[in-house]
Symmetry: C2
């Protein structure tokens, strides 16, 4: 389930309330495009900005709208108890997997992060994906911790941004990680601009922001990279490059939210306060990119 | 109210529940020592790890136990709506001030942080202290943003760790900041090991972790520094130096929690999972420091 293309849709808001009709239509588009999994309420889906009740409701809608496509959801919260409650809600709603970064107000020590994953992994009954995301957690996994956490029960995947920049570096990085973690744990790449190279370098999964809005093109790209077709991958990736440039500069979330707004897929503003989608010159630049490329 | 010595007590937990009797006795000690304000549920008070209900209850207990000493509380949370709810609860409980770092799951842009403070400042009726804390927020204020936020209605103080290391650098830093923000906004120093120098360099307030456990010694130190008595300040600060060394290395929270446990002021473990007070060699070192110094 934690393999292939995992699409991270937005959770569009209108005046702080989830626009359920629009959310369901986003999920239906992903299901129709046959992505391998739908990661509703990921970082792109603003999980941390919604109440427990909103998260439970959105998760239920996602599972219903996704049909036979597995749904993953993030259980990130500041409090461990809240994480466990949200995991319960999500499992009752029928998710196939859970996603968790070592989120905390006080950045955790290595031992504290292990304790967090241990508590959660033992409490859940669906597979858990370990999300290594220093930008939101202020936390850096040591290789030893990542190996230890990957050996916990119920852990099914590791999601991270490759640290290498060349294909050779990523090959080395992924091969090393694969040697050190159980064979049942898949390796997935986040950070869309780097993730394609990571797939060519041996990663199993693209945890993709772009696929949440444009699943067809993302799926073609993921499949080319996963079968090792470097020429086709390069050709498809080239059309995404103007987007990746914006992602690198502004982060994926604000760019994809602005793209969804500009293309009328969601009402503007769609992000939870005080977050804002891309504004000003960068938004105008995105509009030009979207006019030149008919992403699907 | 945002001047002098502001003491940040722990919120001791037992099995995830607040140990109310112990908490009240910590607050009573602070009130008896005549600190200038009690900052209950600050970062040291684990605000981010407690439910809205727990925070409302603890705030009420703090206001009652503090008597005529003003109580400040942090309204930090991942969601703006939750921050506003917690601010309402705190004001109903009778706090004299609120504390807010630009907390967010996605680190905020400068403009987003301004929007956050604008929303909160306009919604509250007691003074607000802006908390600049990159370690927990991943956010860095530009000087321009700090000035703009300080000019919002209801803002009464800025709490930050001095970036300078020498007294001269801190004097320059504080004089510059004071020139650029309204005269009604006080400048307070966090990060205990540096805060004493900041007081000598002109800061108005010591937002103090140590004072939450040892208000008498902290008050003597704060008063010496605030009246510019460098010799007396140096002498008093010297006895704290072994603690500051541990604070620098392990952060104030984990050290002060271990000190409270080791001295029997709170039951162990007192921190919310998965956080841990100081363990192992560092804990043994702290125990030696405590045996040599009878901090009060």
């Amino acid at each position: 389930m934690f393999t292939g293309l995992s699409a991270f849709p937005l959770t569009p808001l209108v005046n702080g309330q989830v626009d359920e009709t629009t959310f369901v239509s986003l999920i239906e588009t992903l299901a129709a495009a046959r992505v391998d999994s739908v990661a509703a309420l990921g970082s792109t889906g603003s999980h941390a900005y919604l109440s427990r009740e909103q998260r439970a409701r959105v998760t239920t809608l996602a599972v219903q709208a996704a049909g036979d496509i597995p749904v993953i959801t993030s259980i990130g919260a500041l409090r461990l108890e809240e994480m466990l409650d949200i995991a319960d809600d999500a499992q009752r709603a029928g998710v196939s997997g859970l996603l968790l970064a070592p989120l905390s107000y006080q950045p955790l020590s290595q031992e504290e992060a292990y304790r967090l994953y241990e508590r959660v992994a033992r409490a859940v009954s669906v597979p858990l994906c370990i999300y290594d995301n220093p930008a939101t957690t202020g936390f850096t996994f040591t290789p030893e911790l990542l190996q230890a956490v990957a050996r916990l029960p119920n852990v099914g995947s590791v999601k991270r941004s490759p640290s290498g920049t060349t294909l050779a570096q990523m090959r080395e990085e992924i091969a090393t990680l694969r040697r050190d973690i159980p064979a049942t744990v898949t390796i997935g790449a986040s950070a869309d601009p780097k993730a394609i190279s990571a797939l060519l370098a041996g990663a199993d999964t693209w945890y993709s922001v772009a696929a949440g809005l444009w699943p067809h093109d993302s799926r073609a790209l993921a499949q080319a990279a996963l079968r090792g077709d470097e020429a086709r991958t390069a050709a498809l990736n080239a059309s995404f490059e103007p987007l990746w440039a914006l992602f690198r500069h502004h982060g994926g979330l604000r760019v994809i939210a602005a793209a969804a707004e500009l293309t009328g897929r969601v009402a503007a503003p769609c992000l939870p306060e005080p977050l804002q989608s891309l504004q000003g010159d960068a938004r105008a630049q995105l509009q030009r990119v979207l006019a030149e490329h008919d992403y699907r």
